[in-house]
Symmetry: C2
DNA sequence: GTATAAAGGATTGTATGCAATTTCGCCACA
DNA sequence: TGTGGCGAAATTGCATACAATCCTTTATAC
């Protein structure tokens, strides 16, 4: 057996790559995802692509219509609202758990992530949605509950997709301040305040996303997947 | 094109069959699920079986270990607790939505389902866990939110699995009374009471499940899948 | 007798091939 | 010019074939 047995395998890597591409607006809602092209791009056969697409469809990031292939999901505004509302309920639990587990190490991890967010904001990089989502996922991980992690991840990604669809750029800027406050409340062990802050934060993020930009038409294709594909092709080793 | 285009296809049917088999304890936690045997049993190739297994793994009903195949999931007690806690949070939202949508038709559907539960109890059939779960799923459907439906279904099934693992038989009997009370509160439009009843109901169901029966060993095989497989083989028409 | 190792069988991982369905272009015709 | 249908190309659905991995059994050495 090799040193690292946890080598994620190709289907996982492809799924991750596609998920990132979707969340970073490289693959935009409505885009078609033909199995052949993707397979060629990632250097694998349609079998693995199909697996990845099925997985992403189960997560709600793409839509899979019989005999018609896959396309990046285009969630409606109602769906977006439902997702954020659901997320609020779930993250209530996360807050409780994290407070119970609170420790200097945990606080350190949170601070470290916040630092990354600040850094990205200063560089005005366009990945802030992704980092903001990952803050919530980090909290879920620190809750110690695999169940919570699983659902916060999935719903967080779906919310990220709706944000990339409906929110105008830079609408997440002030989110960092709110993350800061949440961390502070957690550090003080003030569960009630932390929960209120989290609820407020999430509804604020959702509200800022009501800009129904109604962008261009249903799109096609892309070569911009190259950077994502490269990692997969070069082998996960 | 045929009259009904919505014909669920074979992967869906196989997934449903396996899901039912798991929830009805025909496939018990820990059982191995070899692709070849299942394929032969259902009359399809491993391709479709793999798809179904992946789907069920995404739902948390089976575990999928690399190169070692699938087995029915054996959720831990902590996981069970987390699932019920999460479910409580989600069904809070369901209650609110259903109250908003309340109408004679909806009430009728709920009463009809309750009647089925009573009937099954009188016949002392062993499918009460399934019917009880379906009550909650019906509520989620009546909430009008596909998002809520999706997650209540999934988490409901996972809770059903933990019940089938840990709960002793007949522990769901008194659940029917609680369903009755919830329907009444909903009919009266009393959201607060409905929510409290639902929370109490779910924690009660979870608490009754603390009997860690620790049944036999890791099991193998089965021909009892035959009734499930037949429906799939005979074609979904 | 136990332990280790190697070989064989069984099971999963991935690619490829063929059938079925959809999509799109083309031509006929009103 | 617009519309309907027919056919070819493209795409997905499913099965099968082969490669890789794991498990079991047997053989051999200590």
């Amino acid at each position: 057996m090799k040193a690292a047995d946890k080598a994620k395998h190709r289907t996982d890597m492809i799924s991750s790559a596609l998920r990132s591409a979707i969340l970073e607006r490289v693959l935009m809602p409505g885009m078609k995802l033909p199995e052949d092209s993707l397979g060629e791009r990632f250097g694998v056969s349609r079998t693995l692509i199909r697996q990845s697409l099925e997985r992403l469809a189960a997560e709600g990031l793409i839509e899979l219509r019989r005999n018609k292939g896959a396309m990046v999901a285009k969630p409606s505004l109602e769906e977006a609202r439902d997702l954020f509302e659901l997320r609020t309920q779930i993250e209530d639990l996360v807050i409780s758990r994290v407070i119970k587990n609170m420790s200097p190490e945990i606080l350190g991890e949170l601070e470290a992530h916040l630092a990354k967010e600040v850094e990205a904001e200063n560089a005005s990089e366009p990945i802030s949605i992704r980092l903001a989502t990952e803050f919530h996922i980090l909290l879920a991980r620190l809750s110690g509950s695999p169940v919570l992690l699983r659902y916060v991840e999935e719903i967080g990604y779906r919310c990220g997709l709706t944000l990339s669809l409906y929110a105008r750029p830079h609408s997440t800027d002030c989110g960092i301040q709110e993350h800061r406050q949440i961390i502070d409340a957690l550090a003080k062990g003030d569960e009630d305040t932390a929960r209120k802050l989290m609820r407020h934060h999430l509804t604020a993020v959702a509200d800022r996303a009501l800009f129904t930009t109604e962008e261009g038409g249903p799109l096609l294709y892309l070569d911009a997947l190259e950077p994502y594909a490269r990692k997969v092709r070069d082998g996960g080793a």
